[in-house]
C-alpha cells in the first residue's frame, strides 16, 4: 500500500489538514468562544505518539500557517504552539501511560498555557489587548473532545500503521 510505503506521512498530514479546517471553520458567534483547539489537539497527539517525527519544528510551521489564516501577527501562534509541543515531547512517555481522563486534564492545562502565551505575546506586540477570561473556554470544550480525538487518531494510526 502506498500509504504504508510513505510511513503514513500522507495520513498524518491529512489529519493535520482536517484539524486546521475545523480550526478556521466559521461558527455562529455564540459557540465561537467554545471552539476546541482542533489543530493543537491533533498536533499534540502526533507529537505524543511519534515525537521523533512530528515535533517542535512541525508545530512551528503549522503555527505560522495558522497565523496567516487567522490574520494574526506572524509568529504568535508559532511560538505558542512550539512551546506547547515542547512540553508534550518532554512528557510524552508519561502522557502515553496516563488514563484518558488524566490525559484530558493535562491537555486542558496545555491549552490554557497556549492561550496565555498568545495573550501575552499579543499584549506585548499589539498592545491594548483587554484581558478576557473567555480565552480559556476552549480548554473546557477540548477537555471533553480530547477523548474522541485521541480515539479516532489512534485508530487511524493503527489502521495505517503510521510510524
Amino acid at each position: 500500500m502506498s500509504a504504508h510505503i510513505a510511513n503514513g506521512r500522507l495520513v498524518v498530514w491529512l489529519t493535520i489538514f482536517i484539524g486546521m479546517m475545523f480550526q478556521i471553520m466559521p461558527l455562529p458567534s455564540m459557540v465561537e468562544h467554545w471552539r476546541p483547539d482542533w489543530l493543537l489537539m491533533v498536533m499534540v497527539y502526533w507529537a505524543m505518539a511519534l515525537p521523533h517525527r512530528y515535533s517542535i519544528l512541525t508545530a512551528w510551521v503549522l503555527g505560522v500557517m495558522l497565523d496567516v489564516l487567522l490574520g494574526a501577527t506572524l509568529g504568535i501562534r508559532s511560538l505558542a504552539l512550539s512551546l506547547v509541543i515542547y512540553i508534550v515531547v518532554l512528557l510524552c512517555q508519561r502522557l502515553r501511560n496516563y488514563p484518558r481522563w488524566q490525559q484530558s486534564l493535562v491537555i486542558a492545562g496545555l491549552i490554557c498555557v497556549y492561550h496565555a502565551v498568545i495573550f501575552w505575546v499579543q499584549f506585548v506586540v499589539v498592545g491594548e489587548t483587554p484581558f478576557d477570561l473567555t480565552m480559556f473556554l476552549p480548554a473546557i470544550s477540548s477537555l471533553f473532545i480530547w477523548w474522541w480525538v485521541f480515539w479516532i487518531l489512534r485508530n487511524i494510526r493503527r489502521r495505517y500503521k503510521v510510524r
Binding site: 478556521i24 471553520m25 521523533h52 517542535i56 500557517m65 490574520g71 512550539s82 505575546v121 483587554p130 510510524r163
Partner: protein
Amino acid sequence: MKPIFVRGVSNQFRLTLAIILSVALLAANHRLDPIRQSLSSVLSPLQYLANVPGVMLDWSAEAFATRNMLELQNKELLRQQLVMSERLQRFEHVRQENERLRALLGSPVHMDSRKVVAEVMEVASDPFRQFVVLNHGSQTGVYVGQPVVDAQGVVGQVIEVSEFTSRVLMVSDTTHGIPVRVTRNDVRAIANGTGDIDQIELRHVAKSTDIIAGDLLVTSGLGNRFPEGYPVARVISVSRDDGQSYAVINAQPLAALDRIRYVLLIWPDETKPFTLPADLVELIEKNAPTTPQAVSEQAQGQQATSTTGVNTPQDQAVSNPSATNTQDQAGTNPAAANTQDQAGTNPAGANTQNQAGTTNVQEQPSTAPITNAREVNQ
C-alpha cells in the same frame, strides 16, 4: 523501528530555534507583508474549503424551506420594496435638488462610487481581534484601507488582501479608529474600538462638548479613508465624571457586527456621475402606475426647482455667505464647477472654495490639501 532515544538535534535546540524564528517573525512583522500576502493566497483554498459546510447549510436551508416560509418572506420583501421605492422617489428628487444647490455653491457634486457586494467567509476566532474575511481579493481590485459598509452602517476597513480573499478589521477592534461627526451639531471626534463587538468609544472629548445619548455618529470624511456621511454608531451613554479628565462616551455600532453576512466594498476614488442602477429605475417605473399622481407631481416639482435654481440670481447671493457652513464637506473640487457651465456661478464658486479651503487647513492640516490634489488629478 521506533528509536527509544531521540537522535539528531535535541529538543532544546529545536525549541530555541523555533523561539528565535518566531521572535524574528514578530520583529520583522511589518516588512513581511508581501510574504504574508503570497502565503495567504496559497492558503486561501483552505479558507474556501472550510467555508463549504456553512455554504452547504445555507443551501440546504434554502432548498428545504417550506412554501409557507417562502410566501411570508416574499410578502415581507414586497412590502419592503414598496416602502423603499417610495423613499427612493423622494430621495431622487432631493438628490437632484441638492446637486443643483451644491453646483450653485461651487461645492463638489457628490459622486456615486463603485461598489461590490462581498460575502463574509470567516470570522476571527481570536477573542482579542475583531475581523472578518471576505470572498473578494486583489482580483476584484480590493486594496488595503478600503472602506467596508453593510446595510446599516460602517463595518470597518480592509487590512490585508490576498488573491481571492481579503481581511476586514471591524470598527470595534481595539486597534481601529474612525473619524466621526455628530449629525445633530457637526461635532467631530474619533471613535475607537474597545474590543467589545457592540461597543466603541469616543476618546479625548472635552466634558463640555455637546454630545448626548442617542446622537448619531456618521463618518466625517476627514482622514481620507472613509467617504463622508456613512452612519457609524449611536451614542448610548455619556458620563462626565469629575475624576476623569475627559468625558467617557460609549456608542453602539449600527452595523450588526456579530451577524454580518453580506457587506459592500466601496471604491471612493473610482467615482462616476450618480445614476440609479437600471433595475431600480425599472422598478420605480413599474411601481409608478399604482401612484401616477405622485410621480407626475414629483416631475413637476423637479421642473419647478430647476427653473428657480438656475434662473434666480438672488438665490445665489443669499446662499453665498452661508458657504462657510459647508466647510465640513470640503473635498473641494474645482472640476465640479466646470461640469456645470454656468459662467455666473463660477467666481462665486471659486470664492467659497477658498473660504472652505482655508478653514479646512486650520482644522485638519493634513487632509485638506491632499483631498484637493487628488481630486484635481482625476
